[in-house]
Point group: C2
């Protein structure tokens, strides 16, 4: 059997990566988790999580991350800060090239997550203070309030309809004069009298003292500027997988998400994916931990088979 | 649109059912959860859970159940104690017949779980005190201890090998003189010097004062009885889905588990399944909550489409 540094390397330290690490280290695999910045992933920017099962009072993203790290470390999971540059996946030993070294491993779990596309109008300032990328997560916080939604695709339209269950009014800002979303969603949105469409427009600024108070939009045809008073702003102009380092070595869907089967196996034996980076129907902490438990279990059996 | 009692009925109150209920009530669906006994499911018999992500100190099954119930109730989920007798799934309105009434609903999430086959030697007494059905869950509690494993199929053999990572010795008790497991697993188990095979034998009793101390086995060929000193006993003589009430109305795998796709959709539109009752590669709390979030999301979109 060929010489390796690890049985398993997990790439990414969000809920998926940390859960895979918990399961793998509990199964006593020789495992390493690498994360490019700090453990947590997108969860770190989440102010209040109320739909991760087990926490009736809710908790913050950093709080959940601390718990996940403590739990995985308890079983001996080593976590290192390293950025992956590329993968070499041909042959039984996989090679992970990071900024500082090359790591040889039998198996890999990719749990590097995804990032929402941003508006580039300084929205970082309102992260957790009115700015959101997830109606399922944050919609209920806007009961009887006015919100702005941005986008024109299926997600934007569907989630704007969902928001009307809570919000008293939803401004839907779209850069064109018609929606890209499927017909049925369009019809529903157009018939919904809580939704006011702001056509041909882009968001040019966000304002507020403690939290978000208003959103500036500009009509691209008339160049006219307008200020919408709103306590929430939901951005749905797309989400991008953090999978640049994967290149063409694994099969991806048309949006670049890694394709897996029910065992979280990718198109290359020994390489698994879990959480937001894969082609999942729903991106939630609950689904990330479910994926990760399966990916670790599959990796464990893959490694066990190699060794026999 | 036809008249119904609910948009969605969730059958089962374990982690999958309660998570589906949390998501569905948070999405403001008109939803009901029904559970035949008390919320919790198999988790209730779990003494200490250390691999559900988010609880570094671990927690008991009843503790986790209380948290899941409180969280779902906070969003208004009604939970009723009713046993399902049968389902009528033809047509757009599904009918659930319980002991007391008929419930009409647009959609159903089946989260009724699974039960381990039992030995019928009074093992209830040692539930959480040495008796286990899950090596992934409980194996690490038996570091440097002696355990008994029961069964001869893939699960029994694979999990016995897994147990040798922790236990100093594993007696593998099987009623025949050879294993049913696949060849490669057999070879591995037979080569593992921590595993001692107890052939042609069945467990006839469990003993211990506070916790399990010994396991009585009887050789079926010689009728000889023997007492094995052990602090743990793992039973792997099969697991059965709690899906009798489903009958032939949904596609099942050869073992009776409900077949779903990646969206947790079953073979009947509007009927979804989540957790241990479905044909999943891994049965864990983490995977149950992941399934359930997806099932609720899928049900929500199914209902939304019906109403448009």
């Amino acid at each position: 059997m060929e010489n390796v540094d690890y049985d398993l390397v997990i790439i990414g330290g969000g809920p998926a990566g940390l859960t895979a690490g918990l399961y793998a280290s509990r199964a006593r695999l020789n495992v390493l988790l690498i994360e490019r910045v700090a453990p947590g992933g997108q969860v770190l920017i989440t102010d209040h999580i109320e739909n991760y099962p087990g926490f009736p009072e809710g908790l913050s993203g950093p709080e959940l991350t601390d718990k996940l790290v403590a739990q995985a470390r308890q079983f001996g999971l080593p976590i290192e800060s390293e950025e992956v540059e590329s993968l070499t996946l041909e042959g039984p030993v996989k090679i992970i090239k990071t900024s500082g070294r090359e790591i040889r491993t039998h198996a890999i779990i990719i749990a590097s997550g995804a990032s929402p596309r941003t508006l580039h109008v300084g929205e970082e300032r309102f992260q957790g203070k009115g700015l959101s990328y997830c109606a399922t997560c944050d919609g209920p916080f806007y009961r009887n309030k006015t919100v702005v939604a941005v986008g024109g695709g299926d997600t934007a339209v569907q989630e704007s309809i969902f928001l009307t269950k809570f919000a008293s009014k939803v401004y839907l800002v779209h850069r064109r004069d018609q929606l890209r979303a499927t017909k049925i969603l369009q019809e529903r949105a157009l018939a919904n009298d809580k939704i006011e469409f702001v056509w041909d427009s882009v968001v040019t600024g966000l304002d507020g003292f403690f939290g978000l108070e208003s959103v500036k939009v500009k009509n691209l045809k008339t160049q006219e500027e307008r200020t919408l008073t709103a306590e929430g702003c939901f951005i749905w102009i797309g989400i991008v997988p953090n999978a640049g380092f994967v290149g063409d070595s694994l099969e991806k869907d048309p949006w670049g998400f890694i394709i897996t089967d029910a065992h979280m196996a990718t198109s290359v034996p020994g390489v698994f994916a879990a959480g937001d980076v894969r082609n999942t129907p729903l991106r939630q902490i609950a689904t990330a931990v479910g994926d990760a438990a399966i990916a670790a279990y599959s990796a464990e059996h893959y490694i066990e088979n190699l060794k026999s």
